[in-house]
């Protein structure tokens, strides 16, 4: 049936200008790695960033579309990839947390785990963030890898994120008083033990999966999967011999898009690996530090940026206040962000998908910028974006990840209807 329905161009390994550019960029990334020789932590985060960027681009792994398409299309294809990532990461995170904090005592949380204050601000942040990512056409990680692919509107979105951070910094006092200060940290292992917490989280992921299948069937039959299969697999050529097999493997890794479940699982494993050696995946912290560094010269003439008070009592990888900003806002965590942009560029160029893309309608810049502002505000309020407050929080066996996810669902519902109206 599929052959009849669609023909997809064969993706052959060829030396094009773009592939050459990608190869050069890869060599450049290697050179950066060598130059960082005296800073193993910087090297580590650079490599992780490159891998995250590469997989995000190959898998077209987009949190914004995962949530939005549930409402816009009644489709859960990308969301299944996210659940795969969460399911893979959960047991691995549990091991990482057990290694750090083997003895469970009240109020004793594993350092680095994304156990964040749980209050109504978490849900508000999720709603704002999701409206923002719907508008901007990508969440914060999506914006980063889109920049690597050459989307100029994503630069506007990133600028918006920075402004969103500033706005939150000036209103943090309000949120602190009405919600954050009296928000508990709800971490399942504290009440159920490690295995109980892990099983509860896996059961919730399973329930979410069931819910998705029900949701899809409610909207449309699974026919839609044919289209996805076509686009992901293409018309797979028959390979001949060892050489042919190797060639096909290279094509699958570097030229064709990865199936979204594979990308999701790979990101889950990589996230847990990063937690084992450092802290879970997140970009809000380092980006917030950049904003602080940019604001500092402005603050001399205008108003200094108020610190996010009270945060020292909470853990979490995306906790900006825990890390004092350096001169240029460049810490080793910044290498993770820069690595994601570079990894996406390498991936896109190797596959011949890089292009400087300028939206025809200039208002798309405004739309991306405005979406970015909402995302920045939401991410700073939740102390994490779709990565820190969701993709790394649920495997941390913390309830805040689930509440943020509910907020994301609500905001994406609103975002989807807004998108239809904007046209």
């Amino acid at each position: 049936m599929m052959d009849k329905v669609a023909t997809v161009p064969q993706r052959k390994i060829r030396l094009t200008g773009q592939a050459l550019l990608g190869g050069l960029a890869l060599a450049g990334a290697g050179a950066v790695f060598l130059l960082l020789g005296h800073y193993p932590q910087w090297q580590l985060l650079w490599v992780f960033g490159l891998l995250f960027g590469f997989i995000l681009q190959r898998g077209r792994f987009c949190f914004a579309s995962a949530f939005r398409d549930l409402f816009l299309m009644g489709e859960a294809r990308v969301m299944r990839g996210i659940l795969a990532g969460l399911a893979v990461a959960t047991p691995l995170f549990t091991i990482a947390m057990y290694l750090r904090t083997p003895t469970l005592l009240p109020g004793n949380y594993p350092p680095g785990a994304n156990i964040l204050p749980l209050g109504f601000h978490t849900a508000v942040a999720g709603v704002l963030f999701a409206i923002g990512m719907s508008m901007a056409g990508g969440c914060i990680s999506g914006t980063l890898y889109r920049i690597g692919e050459g989307y100029t509107a994503s630069i506007a979105a990133l600028a918006g994120v920075m402004l969103g951070f500033v706005l939150l910094a000036f209103t943090w006092g309000f949120w602190w008083q009405v919600s954050v200060a009296h928000s508990p940290l709800v971490w399942f292992p504290e009440h159920l033990g490690y295995s109980g917490g892990m099983l509860l989280t896996l059961a919730l992921i399973g329930l979410a999966f069931l819910g998705l299948v029900w949701w899809e069937h409610r909207h449309r039959p699974r026919l839609s999967w044919a289209g996805a299969a076509i686009a992901e697999g293409g018309n797979a050529p028959v390979s001949h011999g060892v050489r042919g097999e190797m060639r096909l493997l290279l094509e699958k890794v570097f030229l064709r898009p990865w199936p979204v479940m594979v990308a999701g699982a790979a990101l889950g494993v990589l996230n847990a690996a990063l937690f084992l050696v450092h802290h879970p995946w997140g970009v809000t912290g380092p980006l917030y530090q950049w904003m602080e560094a940019l604001w500092r010269p402005l603050g001399v003439y205008l108003v200094p940026l108020p610190p996010l008070m009270g945060l020292d009592q909470f853990g979490g990888a995306c906790n900006p206040a825990l890390k004092p900003p350096t001169a240029f806002g460049l810490t080793h965590d910044a290498m993770l962000v820069l690595g994601m942009v570079a990894g996406s560029f390498i991936s896109a160029a190797l596959a011949g998908e890089f292009r400087v893309r300028v939206p025809r309608q200039r208002r798309r810049y405004l739309q991306s910028f405005g979406g970015g502002v909402l995302m920045g505000y939401g991410a700073a309020l939740a102390l994490g974006c779709t990565l820190g407050a969701f993709f790394s929080a649920i495997p941390s066996l913390a309830l805040n990840g689930w509440l943020f996810a509910l907020g994301l669902l609500g905001g994406s519902f609103l975002g989807a209807s807004l998108l239809r109206r904007l046209g």
């Binding site: 329905v5 669609a6 023909t7 997809v8 299309m73 509107a153 044919a226 998908e353």
Partner: protein, 88 residues
């Protein structure tokens, strides 16, 4: 007019990102009377996935051609036999 005598509808969604290429293609397919060939021009790789997906659901055949570096033409033609289960 195409060689097969069908009316050609060109849809240039270059520069647009998700979900617009898919939404606009979907709109064009729903508006079509069935004797058109719709050509969608895009530079957004995810659209190579979302547009075929939507097309199959609506009972259209899909063919994708790379027209330039990071640019593709998706040709949509109404299927002769509607897929079972589709809302056709």
């Amino acid at each position: 007019m195409t060689t097969t005598g069908k009316k050609l509808v060109r849809l240039d969604v270059r520069g647009e990102v998700c979900p617009y290429p898919m939404l606009k293609a979907s709109e064009a397919m729903k508006k079509a009377k069935g004797d058109e060939v719709i050509e969608v021009l895009t530079d957004h790789p995810p659209a190579l996935l979302t547009i075929p997906n939507e097309a199959v659901k609506l009972g259209w055949d899909v063919s994708i051609q790379r027209t330039a570096s990071a640019e593709w033409k998706i040709t949509l033609t109404k299927s002769q036999t509607p897929e079972e289960g589709g809302k056709v």
